[in-house]
């Protein structure tokens, strides 16, 4: 593993007007999960928006973001290859499960190859035969798994998780959480949460928005 591998935040500072919301200077190696813990409204989601290059009006960020040696700081969201999962699954409501995955699947391959790839991915996730289903007819856990699949099929080089387990039932939560971390073993992952159990399950360092160690 070269030192450039993974997601590197160099002196990344997030501002709202002139207020500093976050300051991070760190690296997340492939396979590692960094958890950022802060109370609601502190700017966790905005930090992730800075990482994908889609800050809302009124916010700005300084510093550099490197991904596997590439400087992505000035790139548009679509060119960064950083995936993002929200609290809600945000499956596109007008597309079938399969079409949702095809929308995410990285370009390349014939129509049949792409369809086959989707079928395989669904089968591997225990959702065989779900391609033609309307997302609205799936259970919460199934939807969460489809959303994760869609993010991974785009072949991201890093994955950001914006409290993606918060809306799930307690019984499902541990299961989906485990499935998510299992599927992202090859990627640098940043999880933001205010939930101590999520932070503990992630198994990596737990930091505040200013990079201090937090005990979950």
């Amino acid at each position: 593993m070269s030192p450039a591998d993974g997601l590197v935040l160099q002196d990344l500072t997030l501002f709202h007007g002139t207020d500093v919301l976050a300051h991070l200077d760190l690296a997340v190696r492939p396979g590692a999960v960094l958890t950022v813990m802060a109370p609601s409204g502190a700017g966790k989601s905005t930090l992730l928006r800075a990482l994908i290059g889609a800050l809302p009006a009124g916010f700005h960020a300084t510093g550099r973001i490197l991904l596997n040696g590439r400087d992505v700081t000035a790139l548009p969201t679509a060119a960064r290859r950083i995936g993002l999962l929200f609290q809600d699954d945000l499956l596109f409501p007008h597309l079938s499960v399969g079409q949702n995955l095809l929308f995410g699947l990285a370009p390349g391959g014939t129509r049949n190859q792409r369809r086959e790839r989707i079928e395989q991915a669904l089968a591997a996730a225990g959702l065989a035969g779900f391609a033609t289903r309307d997302p609205a007819t799936l259970s919460g856990g199934q939807r969460a798994r489809v959303a994760l699949l869609r993010a991974l099929l785009a072949n991201p080089e890093a994955l950001l998780l914006d409290e993606p387990f918060a809306r799930l039932d307690a019984s499902l939560r541990a299961q989906i959480r485990q499935a998510t971390f299992d599927a992202t073993r090859h990627l640098p992952v940043i999880l933001v949460t205010h939930d101590a159990a999520d932070a503990a399950a992630a198994g990596g360092p737990v930091l505040s928005l200013f990079g201090q160690q937090v005990s979950p």
């Binding site: 928006r49 679509a78 950083i82 993002l84 409501p93 929308f103």
Partner: protein, 551 residues
């Protein structure tokens, strides 16, 4: 460049409106005011315009308030509510023609009551239509504008949290009407003010409804202006221009008067509160009045439209008979050649204007967000300009501009003018849904590598199919219903269904009028039906979007 798009769109229609005003008012200096002062019908025409417009607005608003206060949460209200949107799609001219068929001395009401109740065997010599006081005109305006205000009120109502406020009011011992007046109405009215002003401006200056239902000698001021302008030699342009300035001042004065009336209303409400009145005794009567007037008005409109349809297929139908002796398609087959031409022309102009409006509105909304460029509140208020400015005040100028450019009388020029009136409606209809789209869908797609164009075409537009089609249907309805702009810029030679139907109205061939009015009605009705049906069909297997389409 791209970021300037919303501003470009704004200028695109604000400029012609203002140019229309300036150009149209210049000829007045050429002896227009003196000629206007000499016209003997002036004071009566002014009184008619102001009187019918103000009366129609007061009655429409009062009835809207009464219905919302007493009925909005009753189970029987849902069907009434569903009837509102289709009613709005009925063009003013068609509604007026239907009402004329109903009210005329030889109309349906007289027939239903004769001879058993009235003893009439001939149409009576009564001024039930075109009455000198403008009562028929006022009724027509109320029948057409009350549904509009009611729909606007129902759209704004949830933001005013009526349920807890009414509950609180009744817990404090208020009657329902009193609780509504104190707790809900002030917030609701604040949201209704602009539509109310639009109704006032339209009511005072309508041309087609006043031609069909209003008095003749003198007519309302706007009908007289249209009459002067229709003189091909432009001999009357100065006096028409002076009258248009007067008409605009009248509307502005009426709006000021209305604001004064709002102060009076506030004072009355304060008095009611200060006295500690609970008004529990008025509820039963208010409910009955709301039901009676609401359903009565809906019934009048329904009968009007049914009358149009029946006349268009009526065989022999002598006076006191309540129904025709037989039905025939002859009126339709006779009208068909002229009707088909007119229908295609109307459709082409409506689709053209709506298509351009939709493209401009979608582009503006898309880039306002993509670039964080949001025209301010004042800029958005400019959008209301075509709704608040009386058409009759803008038209002389636009007609002169069209003449100078040598495009007067061409369908394309008519389409361009329709665009001015279609654009704001399309924008106002589409903006809330477009801006309300969950942006995280777009963000998610971008993190999957999708370009902004792909996000727009593959995600945002398809998800917003329902609102887009509804906005388009509204655009088609607005364009198809335009009378004055079509007549003026078309120089009377662009014979859309509305222009033809109104032109026929003075002739008295009820079968032909019926056929044209029904066709005029059919186009917007078809557009709205498609806007309802297509999303249900496309999203038949998409439960989340189907629920939205059926809401």
């Amino acid at each position: 460049m791209v970021s300037a798009l919303p501003w470009l769109a704004l200028t695109m229609f604000a400029l012609p409106m203002l140019a229309g005003l300036v150009v149209g008012f210049a000829p007045a200096l050429d002896g227009g005011f003196a000629a206007l002062a000499e016209w003997r019908g002036l004071s009566r025409a002014v009184a008619l315009s102001a009187g019918t417009g103000l009366a129609a607005t007061v009655v429409s608003l009062g009835l809207t308030a009464l219905i919302v206060a007493m009925l909005h949460d009753r189970p029987g209200f849902a069907p009434l509510r569903r009837m509102l949107s289709p009613l709005l799609a009925v063009p003013h001219a068609a509604a007026a023609l239907g009402l004329a068929f109903l009210l005329a001395p030889s109309g349906w009401i007289a027939r239903l009551l004769s001879p058993w109740a009235t003893g009439w065997r001939q149409p009576p010599d009564l001024m039930t239509l075109n009455d000198p006081m403008g009562l028929a005109l006022t009724l027509g305006l109320v029948a057409k504008e009350m549904p509009f205000l009611l729909l606007m009120a129902l759209a704004a109502l949830p933001a005013c949290a009526p349920a807890p406020r009414l509950l609180l009011g009744s817990a404090l011992g208020h009657g329902r009407l009193s609780a509504f007046a104190v707790g809900v109405w002030p917030a609701l009215y604040a949201r209704l003010r602009l539509p109310v002003m639009a109704v006032l401006a339209y009511g005072m200056t309508t041309v087609e409804m006043a031609m069909i239902l209003g008095p003749g000698l003198p007519p309302t001021l706007s009908v007289q202006i249209a009459d002067w302008l229709s003189d091909a030699s432009l001999r009357h342009l100065p006096v028409a221009s002076a009258a248009a300035i007067l008409q605009l001042s009248l509307v502005l004065a009426a709006m000021l008067l209305w604001r004064g009336g709002e102060g009076l209303g506030r004072a009355l409400l304060r008095g009611h509160i200060a006295r500690g009145a609970r008004a529990t005794g008025t509820d039963a009567m208010a409910t009955r009045a709301a039901q009676g007037l609401g359903f009565g008005l809906a019934g009048v409109l329904a009968l009007s439209l049914a009358g149009l349809a029946l006349w268009s297929v009526a065989g022999d139908w002598q006076f006191p008979a309540a129904l025709p002796r037989g039905l025939t398609l002859q009126p339709w087959t006779r009208a068909l050649p002229a009707l088909t031409d007119s229908l295609w022309l109307t459709t082409a102009i409506a689709l053209g204007a709506t298509g351009v409006a939709l493209a401009v509105v979608l582009a503006s909304l898309q880039f306002e967000q993509g670039w964080g460029q949001s025209p301010g509140r004042w800029a958005e208020r400019t959008l209301y300009l075509p709704l608040l400015l009386p058409q009759i005040a803008v038209m002389p100028g636009l007609q002169v501009i069209a003449l100078r450019l040598g495009v007067e009388g061409t369908p394309l020029a008519v389409m361009a003018v329709h665009l001015l009136f279609v654009l704001p409606y399309v924008f106002l209809s589409l903006a809330p849904a477009f801006r309300g789209w969950d942006h995280r869908h777009g963000l998610t797609a971008a993190t999957l590598g999708a370009s902004p164009a792909r996000i727009f075409w593959r995600l945002r537009l398809p998800i917003l199919l329902g609102p887009v089609l509804t906005a388009a249907a509204l655009g088609v309805a607005v364009s198809a219903g335009q009378y004055l702009p079509t007549l003026m810029v078309g120089g009377g030679r662009v014979g859309t269904l509305t222009v033809e139907a109104v032109a026929l109205s003075s002739g008295g061939n009820r079968r032909l009028i019926g056929a044209f009015a029904i066709s005029q009605l059919a186009l917007p009705a078809l557009a709205f039906a498609l806007a309802l049906a297509v999303p249900r069909w496309v999203f038949a297997n998409r439960r989340a979007l189907l629920a939205e389409a059926e809401r």
